[in-house]
Symmetry: C2
Subunit: 353 residues, 2 copies
């Protein structure tokens, strides 16, 4: 609850690739919506520059110490996509900045809404964000040159808190139904525990129906036009949440259109669900990058810090710009509008509401 | 290569739920196509009854010893879906019969074709079938009551053999392109190894293009009507193969329409990619079960044992019955045709070819 604060500090990390550009657009729209608060100093933006692949590589750290300190001095963070080094890259084997930030700031919940009003799709995914296959991401073991092992971890507390968040959300928003998604028929120990604990938490919410599914068949159900509109709220372990939200976002227009809230007890970070698209930058197409994902992240941020009316306005404007009018849209090429033009279009639409 | 054999023994396991019914239909169609061989005793069916959940539970074993011995006495196996016990069931915590059979018979490759001719979709998935998150499926550790751990395993040999099978298939069928799918940006040790070894194998096939993707974005790409027809052959670790093939099958009409080949050096098993649908049996709807998945599995079986002309005939008949005519289809309810009627329809169509 931020209502008691004299000042809310929004940290802004542009990230890599198209990140700075789409993040800038989101910041511009937030400033526009909160112009009085910004003028009065009740909301301030703090730019955090050091979360680039160059700096992370130079310091050989997923999140350099000084950057982490800056992040921790903010109330909430607006973060553009960051480039994740991987084997074969000319970079040291540092962890993904997303994954590291989620762990360092204990952002245990990754909340990802997807909606397609015309098709009755209105989904909210509650992805556990610090455990599962991600817990020890970089700490797998090469037992010998032929045998590699990775670990998956599920804890009682970690599962309880994400389950409770999902059920609280369902209760508060009258959703009536939560779907638990695991692969507990095979990954019996960790996914079995996840399922069991979610079902235990479910008992505290007798008015909400619970069903459970395996991740394989759930990816099929989302494609099924007759069945998919029946789903509302999903709760799922880290890896399955990662996978299914990209699929889900595609029905809405692609990962380029989906934002997410990474929530913890103390911090909150808002980001796109997609990557930094280095190829667009290399080919000079980054001015045509689509800021919709970061604008959706901005909706979640505004709502989170208590500006619900402004969040609703932005959401309504995005629904109009993305689904109803489509006068302009970013195609990633010069056949579409630019990132900045789309930002202006959204602000014009807000004004006309 | 089965061409030197005097007799090919096809083991038939009906499995659980709708399994016996749809497997029976597939057996009927195979017998019809191979009637001369069956009459001459060159092809024989051997029914294996013991792979039911009741018997597995009674013997407290994923595959009872006598059943395993019977399976090993066959050349190839036609298997209906089996019910997988899970936590909370009134059954002991035995492993999935599918998973156990894949391991016991070392069926390292799960080959799953999906096609939608009208949309230009023609995909073949090569799912690694004995390792990854499935290796130690039931052997996770509850470190204490709050902390559960599971293991993921990738071996050099295990990855090489699935990669080679995928590239050999691409070469033999002029596919021109193989897509490797992992989550090597996070699951760095095992998926990183999988990716690296696939890329190494790829070098032996210079005429075939290779690209690699993360599983999250790949589930989105399959939805993308403009991009998805460009994909041809996929190679991927066990869990991702499990997930994405259910999604892929949905474009073809659902998991009820997709068959798979489980291949090893010595044995081969052909099955549906879906479950045993106990609810259909409970509600008396099993006579309306769709045998298409097992009929697709039969295509793969026929091709595998060297009856390519018969496999092609059945495939062509299924393409007509499923996509072109749709005079009859199984809906799972009395609004559709029965499993047996569909089997007859397929045989009539074969005759008319
Ligand atoms: C970039 C990657 C590490 C990240 C993840 O896997 O969580 C991304 O896919 C996401 O979903 O935010
Ligand atoms: C039933 C289950 C154990 C199995 C799997 O996960 O492999 C099934 O989903 C499949 O894809 O064959």
């Amino acid at each position: 609850d931020y209502s008691g604060l004299d000042q809310i500090v929004i940290g802004v990390c542009g990230g890599d690739g198209i990140g700075p550009r789409i993040t800038h657009e989101a910041q511009r729209v937030i400033s526009y919506l909160l112009q009085d608060q910004v003028k009065a100093g009740r909301v301030v933006f703090k730019e955090i520059d050091g979360l680039t692949i160059e700096n992370r590589v130079a310091q050989n750290k997923a999140i350099p110490d000084d950057v982490l300190a800056e992040l921790k001095a903010c109330h909430v963070i607006l973060k553009g996509p960051t480039t994740t080094p991987r084997k074969g890259d000319p970079w040291p084997n540092i962890e993904s900045a997303n994954v590291a930030m989620r762990k360092e700031l204990d952002l245990f919940a990754n909340v990802r809404p997807v909606k397609v009003p015309a098709q009755g799709i209105d989904w909210t995914f509650f992805r556990e964000n610090t455990e599962g296959a991600y817990t020890l991401g970089s700490l797998g073991v090469n037992v010998d040159e032929d045998l590699a092992v990775d670990f998956t971890v599920t804890t009682t507390q970690g599962t309880e808190r994400i389950a409770r968040l999902a059920y609280d959300y369902a209760r508060k928003n009258g959703k009536g139904r939560v779907s638990i998604v695991t692969k507990a028929n095979v990954i019996k120990t960790t996914d079995g525990k996840f399922l069991e604990i979610c079902q235990k938490v479910a008992q505290e919410y007798p008015e909400i129906a619970t069903d459970d599914w395996y991740i394989d068949i759930m990816t099929a159900k989302l494609v099924d036009e007759k069945r998919r509109r029946d789903f509302r709220v999903f709760v799922l372990p880290n890896l399955y949440g990662d996978i299914i939200t990209d699929e889900a976002a595609e029905f809405q227009g692609g990962v380029g259109t989906a934002g997410s809230a990474n929530l913890g007890k103390r911090y909150a970070m808002f980001e796109a669900i997609h990557g930094s698209a280095p190829r667009m930058v290399k080919e000079g197409r980054d001015i045509y990058a689509d800021p919709c994902s970061m604008l959706r992240a901005a909706v979640l941020l505004l709502s989170h810090i208590g500006y619900q009316a402004e969040a609703d306005k932005l959401e309504r404007a995005l629904d109009i710009c993305m689904f109803e009018e489509k006068k302009m849209h970013c195609t990633g090429r010069d056949t579409g509008c630019t990132c900045e033009e789309f930002g202006n279009y959204v602000m014009d639409t807000i004004q006309s509401l």
